[in-house]
Protein backbone atom coordinates (compact mmCIF):
# COMPACT_ATOMS: atom_id res chain seq x y z
CA UNK A 1 0.00 0.00 0.00
CA UNK A 2 1.51 3.30 -1.02
CA UNK A 3 2.23 6.05 1.44
CA UNK A 4 -0.07 8.55 -0.27
CA UNK A 5 -2.96 6.11 -0.12
CA UNK A 6 -2.39 5.58 3.57
CA UNK A 7 -2.13 9.32 4.17
CA UNK A 8 -5.39 9.75 2.27
CA UNK A 9 -7.07 7.10 4.40
CA UNK A 10 -5.90 8.84 7.54
CA UNK A 11 -7.33 12.13 6.30
CA UNK A 12 -10.62 10.37 5.59
CA UNK A 13 -10.71 9.13 9.16
CA UNK A 14 -9.98 12.62 10.49
CA UNK A 15 -12.81 14.02 8.40
CA UNK A 16 -15.07 11.24 9.70
CA UNK A 17 -14.21 12.17 13.28
CA UNK A 18 -14.96 15.83 12.66
CA UNK A 19 -18.28 14.92 11.02
CA UNK A 20 -19.10 12.69 13.99
CA UNK A 21 -18.35 15.59 16.27
CA UNK A 22 -20.63 17.81 14.25
CA UNK A 23 -23.39 15.20 14.33
CA UNK A 24 -23.09 14.71 18.07
CA UNK A 25 -23.16 18.45 18.64
CA UNK A 26 -26.28 18.74 16.53
CA UNK A 27 -27.95 15.91 18.44
CA UNK A 28 -27.25 17.10 22.01
CA UNK A 29 -27.46 20.81 21.27
CA UNK A 30 -24.83 23.52 20.97
CA UNK A 31 -25.03 24.48 24.64
CA UNK A 32 -24.00 21.01 25.75
CA UNK A 33 -21.46 20.31 23.03
CA UNK A 34 -20.25 23.05 20.70
CA UNK A 35 -19.59 21.86 17.16
CA UNK A 36 -16.21 22.03 15.39
CA UNK A 37 -16.74 25.42 13.79
CA UNK A 38 -17.81 27.38 16.91
CA UNK A 39 -15.02 25.69 18.84
CA UNK A 40 -12.31 26.82 16.46
CA UNK A 41 -13.78 30.32 16.32
CA UNK A 42 -13.64 30.50 20.10
CA UNK A 43 -10.11 29.12 20.07
CA UNK A 44 -8.98 31.81 17.70
CA UNK A 45 -10.22 34.47 20.11
CA UNK A 46 -9.20 32.76 23.30
CA UNK A 47 -5.66 31.57 22.71
CA UNK A 48 -4.13 35.02 22.22
CA UNK A 49 -5.58 36.29 25.54
CA UNK A 50 -3.42 36.81 28.62
CA UNK A 51 -5.68 34.54 30.67
CA UNK A 52 -4.90 31.65 28.38
CA UNK A 53 -1.21 32.48 28.18
CA UNK A 54 -0.80 32.72 31.95
CA UNK A 55 -2.51 29.44 32.62
CA UNK A 56 -0.77 27.66 29.75
CA UNK A 57 2.53 28.89 31.15
CA UNK A 58 1.62 27.59 34.61
CA UNK A 59 0.87 24.14 33.21
CA UNK A 60 3.97 24.24 31.03
CA UNK A 61 6.28 25.07 33.92
CA UNK A 62 4.78 22.43 36.17
CA UNK A 63 4.97 19.90 33.35
CA UNK A 64 8.58 20.69 32.47
CA UNK A 65 9.73 20.39 36.07
CA UNK A 66 7.75 17.20 36.62
CA UNK A 67 9.26 15.72 33.47
CA UNK A 68 12.78 16.58 34.58
CA UNK A 69 12.17 14.95 37.92
CA UNK A 70 10.49 11.89 36.41
CA UNK A 71 13.20 11.38 33.80
CA UNK A 72 16.08 11.93 36.18
CA UNK A 73 14.77 9.66 38.91
CA UNK A 74 13.36 7.13 36.48
CA UNK A 75 16.61 6.73 34.54
CA UNK A 76 18.64 6.44 37.73
CA UNK A 77 16.34 3.81 39.22
CA UNK A 78 16.09 1.98 35.91
CA UNK A 79 19.85 1.82 35.38
CA UNK A 80 20.42 0.62 38.94
CA UNK A 81 17.72 -2.03 38.77
CA UNK A 82 18.84 -3.14 35.33
CA UNK A 83 22.49 -3.46 36.20
CA UNK A 84 22.13 -4.79 39.74
CA UNK A 85 20.31 -8.08 39.25
CA UNK A 86 18.92 -8.58 42.76
CA UNK A 87 17.57 -5.07 43.10
CA UNK A 88 15.82 -5.57 39.77
CA UNK A 89 14.23 -8.82 40.88
CA UNK A 90 13.11 -7.31 44.17
CA UNK A 91 11.95 -4.00 42.78
CA UNK A 92 10.22 -4.89 39.51
CA UNK A 93 7.00 -6.30 40.99
CA UNK A 94 6.77 -3.34 43.33
CA UNK A 95 7.08 -0.87 40.45
CA UNK A 96 4.60 -2.81 38.33
CA UNK A 97 2.07 -2.82 41.17
CA UNK A 98 2.52 0.91 41.74
CA UNK A 99 2.08 1.48 38.00
CA UNK A 100 -1.40 -0.05 38.00
CA UNK A 101 -2.67 1.83 41.06
CA UNK A 102 -4.99 4.83 40.76
CA UNK A 103 -2.44 7.37 41.88
CA UNK A 104 -5.05 10.10 42.15
CA UNK A 105 -5.88 8.57 45.52
CA UNK A 106 -2.50 9.81 46.72
CA UNK A 107 -3.01 13.38 45.57
CA UNK A 108 -4.68 14.54 48.81
CA UNK A 109 -1.59 13.39 50.72
CA UNK A 110 0.60 15.43 48.41
CA UNK A 111 -1.69 18.40 48.89
CA UNK A 112 -1.41 18.01 52.66
CA UNK A 113 2.37 17.99 52.40
CA UNK A 114 2.91 20.66 49.77
CA UNK A 115 -0.27 22.66 49.88
CA UNK A 116 -1.81 24.19 46.80
CA UNK A 117 1.57 24.98 45.25
CA UNK A 118 3.64 24.30 42.17
CA UNK A 119 5.65 21.65 44.05
CA UNK A 120 2.52 19.63 44.66
CA UNK A 121 1.70 19.51 40.96
CA UNK A 122 5.30 18.74 40.05
CA UNK A 123 5.60 15.87 42.53
CA UNK A 124 2.26 14.42 41.52
CA UNK A 125 3.14 14.56 37.85
CA UNK A 126 6.55 13.05 38.53
CA UNK A 127 5.25 10.05 40.46
CA UNK A 128 3.30 9.15 37.33
CA UNK A 129 6.25 9.45 35.01
CA UNK A 130 8.93 7.77 37.08
CA UNK A 131 7.44 4.32 36.77
CA UNK A 132 7.36 3.69 33.01
CA UNK A 133 10.79 5.34 32.61
CA UNK A 134 12.28 3.13 35.32
CA UNK A 135 10.61 -0.07 34.13
CA UNK A 136 11.55 0.35 30.47
CA UNK A 137 15.10 1.50 31.22
CA UNK A 138 15.53 -1.55 33.42
CA UNK A 139 14.24 -3.81 30.66
CA UNK A 140 16.52 -2.15 28.11
CA UNK A 141 19.60 -2.83 30.19
CA UNK A 142 18.55 -6.39 30.93
CA UNK A 143 17.98 -7.04 27.24
CA UNK A 144 21.49 -6.12 26.17
CA UNK A 145 22.74 -9.27 24.44
CA UNK A 146 25.53 -10.89 26.43
CA UNK A 147 27.54 -11.24 23.26
CA UNK A 148 27.96 -7.43 23.05
CA UNK A 149 29.69 -7.42 26.41
CA UNK A 150 31.90 -10.33 25.39
CA UNK A 151 32.74 -8.57 22.13
CA UNK A 152 33.66 -5.43 24.07
CA UNK A 153 36.10 -7.46 26.13
CA UNK A 154 37.65 -9.11 23.09
CA UNK A 155 38.06 -5.66 21.56
CA UNK A 156 39.77 -4.68 24.83
CA UNK A 157 37.60 -1.65 25.52
CA UNK A 158 37.97 0.28 28.75
CA UNK A 159 34.92 0.25 31.05
CA UNK A 160 34.06 3.79 30.00
CA UNK A 161 34.35 2.90 26.31
CA UNK A 162 32.13 -0.11 26.88
CA UNK A 163 29.42 2.01 28.50
CA UNK A 164 29.61 4.91 26.05
CA UNK A 165 30.20 3.03 22.78
CA UNK A 166 28.30 -0.20 23.32
CA UNK A 167 25.84 -0.15 26.23
CA UNK A 168 24.39 3.29 25.58
CA UNK A 169 23.64 2.87 21.86
CA UNK A 170 22.32 -0.62 22.51
CA UNK A 171 19.75 0.61 25.03
CA UNK A 172 18.67 3.93 23.54
CA UNK A 173 15.63 2.75 21.50
CA UNK A 174 13.97 1.06 24.44
CA UNK A 175 14.86 3.81 26.88
CA UNK A 176 13.35 6.30 24.45
CA UNK A 177 10.09 4.33 24.44
CA UNK A 178 10.04 4.66 28.22
CA UNK A 179 10.66 8.40 27.98
CA UNK A 180 7.79 8.74 25.52
CA UNK A 181 5.33 6.94 27.77
CA UNK A 182 6.69 8.89 30.72
CA UNK A 183 5.96 12.11 28.83
CA UNK A 184 2.34 11.11 28.37
CA UNK A 185 1.59 10.01 31.91
CA UNK A 186 3.43 12.93 33.48
CA UNK A 187 1.28 15.32 31.47
CA UNK A 188 -1.79 13.42 32.59
CA UNK A 189 -0.65 13.65 36.20
CA UNK A 190 -0.12 17.39 36.06
CA UNK A 191 -3.48 17.97 34.38
CA UNK A 192 -5.30 15.75 36.88
CA UNK A 193 -3.74 17.67 39.72
CA UNK A 194 -4.92 20.91 38.17
CA UNK A 195 -8.40 19.55 37.59
CA UNK A 196 -8.82 18.35 41.15
CA UNK A 197 -7.30 21.15 43.19
CA UNK A 198 -5.31 24.03 41.85
CA UNK A 199 -5.53 27.77 41.37
CA UNK A 200 -4.02 27.94 37.92
CA UNK A 201 -3.20 25.93 34.87
CA UNK A 202 -5.15 24.63 31.89
CA UNK A 203 -6.67 21.79 33.91
CA UNK A 204 -7.97 24.33 36.38
CA UNK A 205 -9.40 26.40 33.50
CA UNK A 206 -11.35 23.41 32.22
CA UNK A 207 -13.00 22.72 35.58
CA UNK A 208 -13.56 26.42 36.08
CA UNK A 209 -15.28 26.63 32.72
CA UNK A 210 -17.40 23.62 33.64
CA UNK A 211 -18.67 25.20 36.85
CA UNK A 212 -19.53 28.37 34.90
CA UNK A 213 -21.16 26.30 32.13
CA UNK A 214 -18.79 27.78 29.56
CA UNK A 215 -18.85 24.74 27.29
CA UNK A 216 -17.03 26.47 24.45
CA UNK A 217 -14.06 27.28 26.66
CA UNK A 218 -14.09 23.78 28.07
CA UNK A 219 -13.89 22.04 24.78
CA UNK A 220 -11.45 24.55 23.29
CA UNK A 221 -8.90 23.89 25.99
CA UNK A 222 -9.47 20.16 25.63
CA UNK A 223 -8.78 20.45 21.90
CA UNK A 224 -5.60 22.46 22.51
CA UNK A 225 -4.30 19.89 24.96
CA UNK A 226 -5.29 17.09 22.62
CA UNK A 227 -3.35 18.68 19.77
CA UNK A 228 -0.30 19.30 21.94
CA UNK A 229 -0.20 15.73 23.26
CA UNK A 230 -0.78 14.20 19.83
CA UNK A 231 1.90 16.26 18.11
CA UNK A 232 4.47 15.78 20.87
CA UNK A 233 3.87 12.04 20.85
CA UNK A 234 4.12 11.89 17.06
CA UNK A 235 7.48 13.63 17.22
CA UNK A 236 8.79 11.30 19.90
CA UNK A 237 7.51 8.30 17.93
CA UNK A 238 9.24 9.56 14.81
CA UNK A 239 12.53 9.84 16.70
CA UNK A 240 12.03 6.33 18.05
CA UNK A 241 11.33 4.92 14.60
CA UNK A 242 14.41 6.56 13.14
CA UNK A 243 16.50 4.77 15.73
CA UNK A 244 14.62 1.49 15.52
CA UNK A 245 15.22 1.27 11.80
CA UNK A 246 18.71 0.23 12.60
CA UNK A 247 17.96 -2.32 15.29
Amino acid sequence: MSATRRALDTIIIIIAIVLLWQGLAHWVGETALPGPAPTFVYLAHFVPTTRFAENAAATAIAFALALLLAYGLGLAIGVWMGAQRLSGEVGEPILITLYSLPKITLYPVILLIFGLTLSGKVVFGAIHGVLPVALLTMAAIRNIPMVYLKAARTLRLSPWQTIWNVLLPATIPEVLAGLRIGFTVTLLGVLLAEMFASKDGLGFLIINAMTLLQTKEMISIAVVLFAFAAVANAILLWIEHRLHRRV
Partner: protein, 252 residues
Protein backbone atom coordinates in the same frame (compact mmCIF):
# COMPACT_ATOMS: atom_id res chain seq x y z
CA UNK B 1 9.27 -18.06 48.11
CA UNK B 2 12.42 -17.02 46.33
CA UNK B 3 15.20 -15.06 47.97
CA UNK B 4 14.11 -11.97 46.06
CA UNK B 5 10.58 -12.51 47.34
CA UNK B 6 11.73 -12.53 50.96
CA UNK B 7 13.82 -9.42 50.48
CA UNK B 8 10.87 -7.71 48.84
CA UNK B 9 8.60 -8.60 51.76
CA UNK B 10 11.23 -7.28 54.14
CA UNK B 11 11.55 -4.03 52.20
CA UNK B 12 7.78 -3.43 52.20
CA UNK B 13 7.41 -4.28 55.88
CA UNK B 14 10.39 -2.08 56.72
CA UNK B 15 8.96 0.88 54.81
CA UNK B 16 5.54 0.58 56.42
CA UNK B 17 7.22 0.14 59.77
CA UNK B 18 9.30 3.25 59.22
CA UNK B 19 6.22 5.33 58.37
CA UNK B 20 4.41 3.95 61.41
CA UNK B 21 7.31 4.86 63.65
CA UNK B 22 7.74 8.30 62.14
CA UNK B 23 4.06 9.05 62.72
CA UNK B 24 4.01 7.72 66.26
CA UNK B 25 7.14 9.64 67.21
CA UNK B 26 5.63 12.79 65.69
CA UNK B 27 8.34 13.22 63.04
CA UNK B 28 5.39 13.50 60.69
CA UNK B 29 2.56 15.80 61.72
CA UNK B 30 -0.66 13.88 62.36
CA UNK B 31 -2.54 16.48 60.32
CA UNK B 32 -0.54 15.35 57.30
CA UNK B 33 -0.34 11.59 57.77
CA UNK B 34 -1.77 9.17 60.34
CA UNK B 35 0.00 5.93 61.33
CA UNK B 36 -0.76 2.99 58.99
CA UNK B 37 -2.09 0.98 61.92
CA UNK B 38 -4.68 3.67 62.64
CA UNK B 39 -5.61 3.70 58.94
CA UNK B 40 -6.23 -0.04 59.10
CA UNK B 41 -8.28 0.08 62.31
CA UNK B 42 -10.36 2.98 61.01
CA UNK B 43 -11.02 1.07 57.80
CA UNK B 44 -12.07 -2.09 59.58
CA UNK B 45 -14.42 -0.11 61.80
CA UNK B 46 -15.99 1.66 58.83
CA UNK B 47 -16.40 -1.56 56.87
CA UNK B 48 -17.99 -3.28 59.86
CA UNK B 49 -20.47 -0.47 60.36
CA UNK B 50 -21.60 -0.83 56.77
CA UNK B 51 -21.38 2.92 56.09
CA UNK B 52 -19.16 2.33 53.08
CA UNK B 53 -21.36 -0.25 51.43
CA UNK B 54 -23.19 2.09 49.09
CA UNK B 55 -20.03 3.74 47.81
CA UNK B 56 -18.21 0.44 47.42
CA UNK B 57 -21.05 -1.13 45.47
CA UNK B 58 -21.37 1.91 43.29
CA UNK B 59 -17.68 2.27 42.46
CA UNK B 60 -16.99 -1.42 41.94
CA UNK B 61 -20.20 -1.72 39.99
CA UNK B 62 -19.25 1.11 37.65
CA UNK B 63 -15.79 -0.37 37.18
CA UNK B 64 -17.28 -3.75 36.37
CA UNK B 65 -19.70 -2.25 33.85
CA UNK B 66 -16.96 -0.21 32.21
CA UNK B 67 -14.62 -3.18 32.04
CA UNK B 68 -17.25 -5.51 30.63
CA UNK B 69 -18.27 -3.02 27.95
CA UNK B 70 -14.61 -2.39 27.08
CA UNK B 71 -13.75 -6.08 26.83
CA UNK B 72 -16.82 -7.09 24.84
CA UNK B 73 -16.86 -4.17 22.43
CA UNK B 74 -13.10 -3.96 22.29
CA UNK B 75 -12.92 -7.59 21.25
CA UNK B 76 -15.71 -7.18 18.71
CA UNK B 77 -14.12 -4.07 17.22
CA UNK B 78 -10.76 -5.80 17.20
CA UNK B 79 -12.24 -8.69 15.22
CA UNK B 80 -13.78 -6.31 12.70
CA UNK B 81 -10.68 -4.17 12.29
CA UNK B 82 -8.48 -7.23 11.92
CA UNK B 83 -10.63 -8.45 9.07
CA UNK B 84 -10.32 -5.14 7.21
CA UNK B 85 -6.57 -4.52 6.66
CA UNK B 86 -7.10 -1.20 4.93
CA UNK B 87 -9.12 0.14 7.84
CA UNK B 88 -6.48 -1.15 10.22
CA UNK B 89 -3.68 0.58 8.37
CA UNK B 90 -5.66 3.83 8.41
CA UNK B 91 -6.38 3.56 12.13
CA UNK B 92 -2.80 2.67 13.04
CA UNK B 93 -1.59 6.22 13.72
CA UNK B 94 -4.62 6.79 15.93
CA UNK B 95 -3.96 3.74 18.04
CA UNK B 96 -0.35 4.78 18.34
CA UNK B 97 -1.25 8.22 19.66
CA UNK B 98 -4.46 7.37 21.51
CA UNK B 99 -2.83 6.79 24.84
CA UNK B 100 -0.69 9.86 24.38
CA UNK B 101 -3.72 12.05 24.90
CA UNK B 102 -4.98 12.55 28.44
CA UNK B 103 -8.55 11.47 27.70
CA UNK B 104 -9.54 12.97 31.01
CA UNK B 105 -9.66 16.43 29.61
CA UNK B 106 -12.93 15.46 27.95
CA UNK B 107 -14.61 14.38 31.17
CA UNK B 108 -16.13 17.80 31.85
CA UNK B 109 -17.41 17.84 28.26
CA UNK B 110 -19.15 14.53 28.90
CA UNK B 111 -20.69 15.87 32.09
CA UNK B 112 -21.99 18.81 30.10
CA UNK B 113 -23.62 16.44 27.62
CA UNK B 114 -24.91 13.69 29.88
CA UNK B 115 -25.29 15.45 33.19
CA UNK B 116 -23.86 14.46 36.53
CA UNK B 117 -24.77 10.76 36.43
CA UNK B 118 -23.23 7.36 36.03
CA UNK B 119 -22.97 7.70 32.28
CA UNK B 120 -19.99 10.06 31.95
CA UNK B 121 -18.06 7.97 34.49
CA UNK B 122 -18.75 4.74 32.65
CA UNK B 123 -17.85 6.49 29.40
CA UNK B 124 -14.56 7.65 30.92
CA UNK B 125 -13.78 4.08 31.97
CA UNK B 126 -14.67 2.70 28.57
CA UNK B 127 -12.78 5.42 26.70
CA UNK B 128 -9.65 4.62 28.68
CA UNK B 129 -9.89 0.84 28.53
CA UNK B 130 -11.41 -0.05 25.20
CA UNK B 131 -8.45 0.82 23.01
CA UNK B 132 -6.16 -1.41 25.08
CA UNK B 133 -8.58 -4.26 24.45
CA UNK B 134 -8.73 -3.52 20.73
CA UNK B 135 -4.94 -3.46 20.44
CA UNK B 136 -4.61 -6.66 22.47
CA UNK B 137 -7.22 -8.35 20.27
CA UNK B 138 -5.38 -7.29 17.13
CA UNK B 139 -2.10 -8.60 18.53
CA UNK B 140 -3.69 -11.86 19.58
CA UNK B 141 -5.26 -12.45 16.19
CA UNK B 142 -1.97 -11.57 14.49
CA UNK B 143 -0.12 -14.14 16.49
CA UNK B 144 -2.34 -17.07 15.65
CA UNK B 145 0.09 -19.34 13.79
CA UNK B 146 -0.95 -19.73 10.15
CA UNK B 147 -0.25 -23.42 10.40
CA UNK B 148 -3.33 -23.80 12.63
CA UNK B 149 -5.72 -23.00 9.80
CA UNK B 150 -3.93 -25.60 7.68
CA UNK B 151 -4.30 -28.18 10.46
CA UNK B 152 -7.99 -27.30 10.66
CA UNK B 153 -8.43 -27.93 6.95
CA UNK B 154 -6.61 -31.26 7.18
CA UNK B 155 -9.13 -32.21 9.89
CA UNK B 156 -11.93 -30.82 7.73
CA UNK B 157 -13.19 -28.48 10.43
CA UNK B 158 -15.81 -25.82 9.72
CA UNK B 159 -15.14 -22.10 10.20
CA UNK B 160 -16.93 -21.81 13.52
CA UNK B 161 -15.22 -24.91 14.91
CA UNK B 162 -11.85 -23.61 13.74
CA UNK B 163 -12.50 -20.27 15.41
CA UNK B 164 -13.68 -21.71 18.70
CA UNK B 165 -11.39 -24.69 19.08
CA UNK B 166 -8.15 -23.49 17.53
CA UNK B 167 -8.02 -19.76 16.93
CA UNK B 168 -9.55 -18.55 20.17
CA UNK B 169 -7.29 -20.67 22.43
CA UNK B 170 -4.28 -19.60 20.38
CA UNK B 171 -5.14 -15.92 20.80
CA UNK B 172 -6.27 -16.32 24.42
CA UNK B 173 -3.07 -15.17 26.17
CA UNK B 174 -3.10 -11.84 24.38
CA UNK B 175 -6.83 -11.45 24.90
CA UNK B 176 -6.32 -12.05 28.59
CA UNK B 177 -3.62 -9.39 28.65
CA UNK B 178 -6.23 -7.08 27.14
CA UNK B 179 -8.66 -7.95 29.92
CA UNK B 180 -5.96 -7.36 32.53
CA UNK B 181 -5.19 -3.93 31.10
CA UNK B 182 -8.87 -3.05 30.73
CA UNK B 183 -9.54 -3.77 34.38
CA UNK B 184 -6.51 -1.75 35.40
CA UNK B 185 -7.33 1.24 33.20
CA UNK B 186 -11.03 1.24 34.03
CA UNK B 187 -10.19 1.20 37.73
CA UNK B 188 -7.87 4.19 37.39
CA UNK B 189 -10.26 6.14 35.18
CA UNK B 190 -13.35 5.60 37.34
CA UNK B 191 -11.63 6.54 40.59
CA UNK B 192 -10.13 9.64 38.98
CA UNK B 193 -13.50 10.67 37.56
CA UNK B 194 -15.15 10.22 40.95
CA UNK B 195 -12.44 12.36 42.48
CA UNK B 196 -12.98 15.24 40.13
CA UNK B 197 -16.74 15.22 40.04
CA UNK B 198 -19.33 12.59 40.81
CA UNK B 199 -22.49 12.31 42.90
CA UNK B 200 -21.17 9.34 44.86
CA UNK B 201 -18.55 6.61 44.96
CA UNK B 202 -15.25 5.89 46.70
CA UNK B 203 -13.35 8.59 44.85
CA UNK B 204 -15.98 11.14 45.79
CA UNK B 205 -15.84 9.95 49.42
CA UNK B 206 -12.07 10.45 49.58
CA UNK B 207 -12.36 13.91 48.04
CA UNK B 208 -15.11 14.82 50.52
CA UNK B 209 -13.09 13.55 53.46
CA UNK B 210 -10.17 15.67 52.30
CA UNK B 211 -12.39 18.75 52.02
CA UNK B 212 -13.79 18.07 55.51
CA UNK B 213 -10.28 17.70 57.02
CA UNK B 214 -11.35 14.20 58.13
CA UNK B 215 -7.93 12.55 57.82
CA UNK B 216 -8.98 9.36 59.53
CA UNK B 217 -11.77 8.73 57.08
CA UNK B 218 -9.70 9.88 54.10
CA UNK B 219 -6.78 7.57 54.80
CA UNK B 220 -9.01 4.62 55.61
CA UNK B 221 -10.73 5.00 52.24
CA UNK B 222 -7.41 5.48 50.44
CA UNK B 223 -6.11 2.31 52.00
CA UNK B 224 -9.21 0.47 50.88
CA UNK B 225 -8.96 1.62 47.28
CA UNK B 226 -5.25 0.86 47.05
CA UNK B 227 -5.64 -2.56 48.62
CA UNK B 228 -8.54 -3.52 46.34
CA UNK B 229 -6.65 -2.31 43.28
CA UNK B 230 -3.54 -4.25 44.29
CA UNK B 231 -5.44 -7.43 45.06
CA UNK B 232 -7.43 -7.40 41.82
CA UNK B 233 -4.41 -6.63 39.64
CA UNK B 234 -2.21 -9.14 41.46
CA UNK B 235 -4.89 -11.79 41.14
CA UNK B 236 -5.20 -11.29 37.40
CA UNK B 237 -1.43 -11.31 37.05
CA UNK B 238 -1.15 -14.56 39.01
CA UNK B 239 -3.76 -16.14 36.73
CA UNK B 240 -1.84 -14.90 33.71
CA UNK B 241 1.36 -16.46 35.06
CA UNK B 242 -0.30 -19.77 35.79
CA UNK B 243 -1.78 -20.08 32.31
CA UNK B 244 1.42 -18.95 30.67
CA UNK B 245 3.40 -21.58 32.55
CA UNK B 246 1.11 -24.30 31.30
CA UNK B 247 1.65 -23.23 27.74
CA UNK B 248 5.35 -22.63 28.16
CA UNK B 249 5.16 -18.95 27.29
CA UNK B 250 5.96 -15.86 29.31
CA UNK B 251 3.15 -13.44 30.16
CA UNK B 252 3.55 -9.82 29.15
Amino acid sequence: MTRAGWIRLLVIVAMIGAVELACRLNFIDHRVLIPPSKMATALVAMLASGQLNDDIVRTLGVITIATTLSVVFGFALGLVIHALPRLRAALDPFFATYYAVPVFIFYPVMIAIFGLSLIPIVLMGVATAIVAMIIATLNGLDRIPRVLTKVARVHRMGRLATALQLQLPAAAPHLFTGVKLSVSYAFIAVIAAEFILAPAGLGRAIANAYADFDNRRMYALMLFVLVIATVVNAGLHALDLRWAKRRGTRPS
